[in-house]
Symmetry: C2
Subunit: 406 residues, 2 copies
């Protein structure tokens, strides 16, 4: 067994989640890469020695946050030719050029998907998928805390202060939320994005930012009249041969791809003439999302070119699955019709979620949406329903996909 040694700097929420996920997925990673990743050592404030960990690692994962000593450790790892994966937006937005240069000079990989956008793979998409594109503009909702607060204000009409308290209660905002609500966190992320998108050395202190502290329910109510929705938006764009990078509360027209991004989500829209636009969205950074982004980077550093492994042993291809359904019937408009349909559905264990009935002279249109049920059971019920003497046409069915992840 070949092992791949990972030195872990930091063991807070993200570091802990990363160590757990690494252990959970080590077998699968070994199957696909031929190497089993293992933690070679952990550095925290109170334990571990950086030099020892560096010497025994193939790759360093930096999730301590802050600028020092993170900056020093990252530089030393890269200078000694070790790959680095980091989630640290502060150090990259303030000392990026020094770090990027160390990676080039050391011939080592530096990956930092987890520094921006939570689970949304904006770094990889800009850096790799769109390597060929001349990016014209990036708009991003890159702070989940402020997007949650603005969504709550929009949904309930409450004040900023009350929505912030709600966010703190649910764990979407920290006790000291300053850097989230004043736009500085988003500005750091936009500086990193702009560096990649435009190949220009943008630092955090060059990104003007406004926050959401002064937004009123009245602003949001008026905006609805104009069909607008309010977001904290980061913009990085080419303007007259130069570049503008900034963060500010903005109204979006309803058809903009970011307008429907609600709650503690992140999303980024990348515009380029060749591709028009691509939008990426997903939950903002929680510990397990960030850990997943870090581990994706670790695997990429283990096996630079993508290689599709031989397929797993034969898996069962399932054909009878659960689904919710829409059922549309044209029936004679007489008593007992609904009862008979409902009885046949009930016999197969099909549960009705909503019903609408409209009269059509002697006939009626009866439309139902069901709760999820095994397809074979629903089809068996519809087969029997189709034979009822009051049916005026073949029943029509369409599957329904519910909105929540299970």
């Amino acid at each position: 067994m070949t092992s791949f040694k990972v030195g872990l700097l930091g063991r807070g929420t993200v570091g802990g989640a990363f160590a757990e996920l690494l252990e959970e997925r080590a077998g699968a990673i070994e199957a696909s890469t031929g190497m089993r990743p293992e933690i070679a050592g952990v550095l925290t404030r109170s334990q571990g020695d950086f030099d020892e960990i560096l010497a025994s690692s193939d790759l360093i994962v930096e999730v301590m946050g802050g600028t020092e000593p993170a900056r020093e450790y990252i530089l030393r790892a890269l200078q000694s030719g070790k790959h680095v994966v980091t989630a640290n937006k502060q150090v990259l937005s303030q000392h990026g050029e020094e770090i990027y240069a160390a990676a080039r000079d050391g011939g080592a990989q530096l990956r930092f998907e987890a520094s921006v956008g939570g689970v949304v793979p904006v770094i990889r998409v800009i850096n790799e998928t769109l390597a060929a594109a001349h990016i014209h503009r990036v708009h991003g909702i890159v702070n989940g805390t402020t997007n949650f607060i603005l969504s709550e204000m929009t949904r309930t009409g409450e004040t900023y202060e009350s929505a912030l308290a709600q966010a703190q209660e649910l764990g979407y905002a920290e006790a000291d939320p300053s850097e989230d609500v004043n736009g500085k966190d988003a500005a750091a992320k936009m500086a990193i994005i702009a560096r990649l998108a435009f190949n220009a050395p943008i630092r955090l202190d060059q990104v003007p930012h406004q926050g959401i502290e002064n937004i009123t329910p009245d602003d949001i109510a008026h905006a609805k009249e104009f069909g607008l929705s309010l977001k904290l938006v980061g913009t990085a764009e080419r303007v007259n041969g130069g570049i503008s990078v900034r963060v500010y509360p903005a109204f979006l027209y309803g058809q903009h791809p970011l307008a429907s991004v609600d709650g503690a989500f992140n999303a980024v829209t990348i515009e380029s003439p060749a591709i028009t636009e691509v939008t990426l969205s997903g939950p903002g950074a929680g510990g397990s999302q960030t850990a997943s982004a870090v581990l994706g980077d670790v695997i990429s550093a283990m096996i630079p070119p993508p290689s599709l492994p031989a397929p797993a042993e034969e898996v069962e291809l399932v054909t009878d699955v659960e689904s919710a359904f829409y059922l549309h019937m044209e029936v004679a408009d007489r008593p007992g019709v609904l009862a008979q349909v409902a009885e046949l559905l009930g016999l197969q264990g099909v549960s009705v979620k909503s019903v609408v009935q409209h009269g059509l002279g002697d006939n009626a249109r009866l439309v139902m949406v069901m709760h999820p049920v095994l397809e074979s059971k629903f089809l068996a019920a519809v087969e029997l329903i189709g034979r009822l003497d009051f049916m005026r046409a073949e029943p029509r069915i369409i599957r329904v996909i519910e909105e929540f992840f299970d």
Copy 2:
């Protein structure tokens, strides 16, 4: 100058757009990779010799489509250790295992982002970003033609036949649209996605598919009553230890991330416990979008590990940019107020798009949305407006982002 030789198989819409884009971006690619990509030879039905092109190329781009001779050429390139980039969903969904095995055995890279999802980087995200994730389910809108038709039916209430004719007129549907509208095109793409997401050898002929030919305006009207929107959905999911892959018209609840994807767009939602979900969306495949995805793959094959180049020479950081604005004013409710505000805006060249005024006893609330204007001009107007004697509070401004790419 080091050059990187690309052999091009096929010179239809995609091949032509790729050759153009390669030439346009060759300088930028050379600056970032140190190698200048060049077309080594082109094979079409009537010209070129595959063996000669293969011998003189570092990488083969296959955009001929169809299964033969594309399959044979891809296999022979990989067997001789040459990288292959392909946009060919037919050959991958029918002969994938043979091709993936040849890539492993030949030690060559096989990349195929352009085979699925147009500009949406679903292959890279599943294969690389989410390499660490245990993917539970993928829902995709992977056929732009059918999504356009269903969006039109929803928007206008018209029939399938009429929306299809409209799609054909606008170039979103081919003269023979069978494989789009019957779901087979989407099924091929879902077979490729399922292979990657679950590491299971799924072929096109194992993916049951239904199309949209029988959808009626009545179904869509009823669905609106339930808050549902209709899409042609491909699903690949784990079910009781097995896997289900299928394509079918489905209703989505309004909060589902795919529910708001309208027109000739593609979008994919990937669910995994560690990340919850990530959604990628963008325009479906046109020639230039597909060419851009192909070129992204070519660059990735040129430089497997990502490397952030030294920044370009100093660029100008622009601070005064154009934006649309929302302007909120509390004013005394008396004649001439609107005229004075409008005059000050007009003097700075600010053009008003919408106005709403509400009385509040002696005062009124006057809210406006402007057309885009240089920020400095708008702020100068607001500065003067704030000094008018009928203003009852400081004017409030918020930027407005318009929905269209310019």
